[in-house]
Amino acid sequence: MMRAVVAAALCLLVTLALALAVLQRPAPAEDLPARVDAALAASGVSHPVTAVLLAFRGYDTLLEVGVLLLTVVVAAALREAQPDGADRIGAANPLLHAVTGVLLPLMLLVAGYLLWAGSTRPGGAFQAGAVLAACGVLLRLSGTRLGWLEHPWLLRAGLAAGLLAFVAVGTASLLTGAAFLAYPEALAGALILFIETALSVSIGLALLSLFRLAPPHSDVPRAPDRRERRRG
């Protein structure tokens, strides 16, 4: 009882401190939205969020994509340590199959739209990639095997495509004498769309891979887990 009271008091204190911090935060030193609006015309896209993500702060997005790729590499490495077993894939179910047949074209259309819309309104590579990944998850749950995903090099090339395209564009701008990832103004829109297309494929594959790399469901003997060790 005493512990609960102390915990509640501590929670209340932290909440109060957070509320105070939010209420008393200093005014931003610089009016960033105004600066973004001023530079928007030169960025090649008309949606400020996309302009910030891929033009003004493109380097941050590049690193972010690198982190996502690293996550998949680590997940694949962890999967290697697991025992091999039957791939976990949903049982083929006629109803799911029929629903997937209706949903899948629509989802692909939405992914394409989100990618295209990214330059003028909310949308973009991450959202399109998430929808693509959802397509893959749906196919997997309905028991459809995607043969080309089993091909190791094809999958790796797809996973790396986004980062490669990003780095290639950045390096090309270095070679022309500009700064890293400084797009020439005439080509900026096309380059951003190119990067975003590659990114959405990679992000979709990465999210799907995280789902695919779950351990197999099999009853093969495995390393004793903590519960059993403590008991025995």
Binding site: P122, Q127, A130, A133, V137, P215, H217
Partner: protein, 89 residues
């Protein structure tokens, strides 16, 4: 529209509380998905549709699928495991 926003905030807190306090893991996951969808609505109300899209697709959709998948795995593994142990002992 402020009463609607207040309702949304209240529902967010409630779903977060239910997701954290629920003893049934399946219910907790469903509450987490509900929380993600409400959060997406809150982002829309805050005029951040980009974040709302990402939240709905990744926060509610993919994370929910991953959590449900893990739940199924845990069930199969530990319930199957305890049955096996019971039989062998």
């Amino acid at each position: 529209m402020s009463w609607l926003d207040a309702l949304l905030g209240l529902a967010l807190c409630m779903s977060a509380l239910l997701a954290l306090a629920s003893r049934d893991l399946f219910r907790a996951v469903v509450m987490f998905i509900v929380f993600g969808l409400l959060m997406a609505l809150a982002w829309v109300r805050l005029e951040a549709p980009d974040v709302a899209l990402a939240e709905a697709a990744i926060g509610a959709g993919l994370t929910g699928v991953l959590l449900l998948d893990t739940l199924g795995y845990l069930r199969r593994r530990f319930e199957g495991g305890s049955r096996r142990r019971a039989r062998s002992s």
